[in-house]
Point group: C2
Chain length 339, copies 2
Amino acid sequence: MTMEKEKQGLKKMTIADVAEALGVSKTTVSRVISGKGRIGSDTKERVLRYIEEHDYKPNVIAKGLAQNKTYNIGLILPGNHNFVDSSFFQQCMLGISEAAAAADYDMVVSMICDHDLTQLERLVLNNKVDGIILSRTLVEDAPAAYLKQRHMPFVVIGTSSDTDLIQIDHDHREACRELTSVLLMKGLHKVALIGGSREIVITNTRLQGYLDAFEEQELTVDSSLICLDADNGPMLERMVAEFVKKGAECILCMDDSICCQVLNTLKKNRISVPEDMRVASFYNSPLLENNLPAITSLHFDAAALGTVTCRTLLDHLEGKEVSKKTLLGYEVVLKESTK
Amino acid sequence: MTMEKEKQGLKKMTIADVAEALGVSKTTVSRVISGKGRIGSDTKERVLRYIEEHDYKPNVIAKGLAQNKTYNIGLILPGNHNFVDSSFFQQCMLGISEAAAAADYDMVVSMICDHDLTQLERLVLNNKVDGIILSRTLVEDAPAAYLKQRHMPFVVIGTSSDTDLIQIDHDHREACRELTSVLLMKGLHKVALIGGSREIVITNTRLQGYLDAFEEQELTVDSSLICLDADNGPMLERMVAEFVKKGAECILCMDDSICCQVLNTLKKNRISVPEDMRVASFYNSPLLENNLPAITSLHFDAAALGTVTCRTLLDHLEGKEVSKKTLLGYEVVLKESTK
DNA sequence: CTGAAAGCGCTTACAG
DNA sequence: CTGAAAGCGCTTACAG
């Protein structure tokens, strides 16, 4: 028993060992494992039992070489640390790795910083993956362009204007519309909006949702209550002051990092939430989780997004027809900050 | 030109193509690429130039099969989302993937939830990796035990009592000693300590550092100011109240999640920081980054940890002698919360 | 239903 | 210094 384990440790069993032990050909063993081709039911039975009993696992690498596949999918993650999103990516990875494992694929992850494509190139030139998931969509998406040119199959998490791309995303527009809508219906008509760079796709998507809500309720938007490209502290502080002066009843933040800073500014100025000002965020990160008061926001299931994305990529690799655009749901979570 | 690209896209160049084009054997080409064996300098030159000009990249998978290697390292990440640490893991991954790429390795990541080893087993049984990094050490470390039994080379991030393991970690004990020391020297003698589960290695390490500081300064520890296994909100609230009653001058939190809750409790009770109570954290996550007042804490470089860890694993795989235990530095970052 | 043989793209003794 | 050949552990026409 111990010796047997020793041996297993030193030398892995191969398909040839199985074939020899059973007095059949490697071809036969291979076929019962893959399930391709007709095999006599008793032969099949014997092979299956032997494999089971001796815990034989085919070498995926060798299998891949013969089939010109790797059974790996690549995941490209942003390397420059955006703290707000790290738990999003973690959850997403979880979903991806589960879906991949279920199909006996592994996930190799590569991180790319800023506009440095070196790591991406390595991944594709080394032939280590069958397909790739791009976890962040840019307006000017160099990684996507590169993969396209290289004919490497890939899907993107996010939304892009390039209709060639297979895209999977949460329905941010609809989500933002609904949250805004809920606030408007509470009688809060002076809802200010503050967000980040317009070079990022999602900033525009969220803005759209906000505008949709006003239109739907036939209210006119006060454009002086909208501030985008607010990427630095001082600017945020100024805008918050401005909003207060203009009589805003609620500040809608495009993400939690912005929301955090807005909350700090309000705190500094002794404006209390929700009494003197309502606050809500279009995104749910752990950043706000422990805040007092609890912050109203949207909830997105990142793990589910990962799972769906991975499945879509795998289907695509298998040559199945996949839809170019998949939108996932969301939840509006009302908390004290908008009471 | 376009046609050429087409062809490249359809069929990758192989070592046989190179050999044929140059009228030499595959053996020769292989040797100049690997740098093993003596080759005539002009032959070498020609091969190198051809490869360069035609952008030939050897197939790593095939190379691996022949050498019985995969050129992949496995990274095991905790799947159950601990929000506090997600940015730590992200930074760590960045370091690992950079070090791996530099050695032409790829990083395949697997996430394991709780005590489910299925994914870990997949990774090793599928022979997809040459070695593994365990990113979290447990007191009762089933993953480590499994890898040991399987004779899979691995290193751990963290500290373990199992001296067989190759460990890489920040010097938490020394770091906590120094931070505590600094506070004591400020004249804050009633420094309370609050931390999580003692089943986690690091909880004990941090406690040790705290105790070291008292011993070093020849002060006696008031054990009623130490609370461990504080893993739920109500308990934390009670302890904070208790500490206040006992006249604590400062509350030291073992991590930022705890610190967050402590801060909320203080806020609820209108105890202001730092006027009425000082607060510091033994760990730096983005969770506290935007807090007002800014929180004194320790700073650890997770990316550096990742890099060193990966290098250590690679050295180990190459058969080099590596030290069983590597400790990395830290920084004490003083902010307003302990003024 | 089953097998011998060639092949996936490399490496590496062995021989010269 | 260089090459023919066997081998890594699989798959897959082709033939029976």
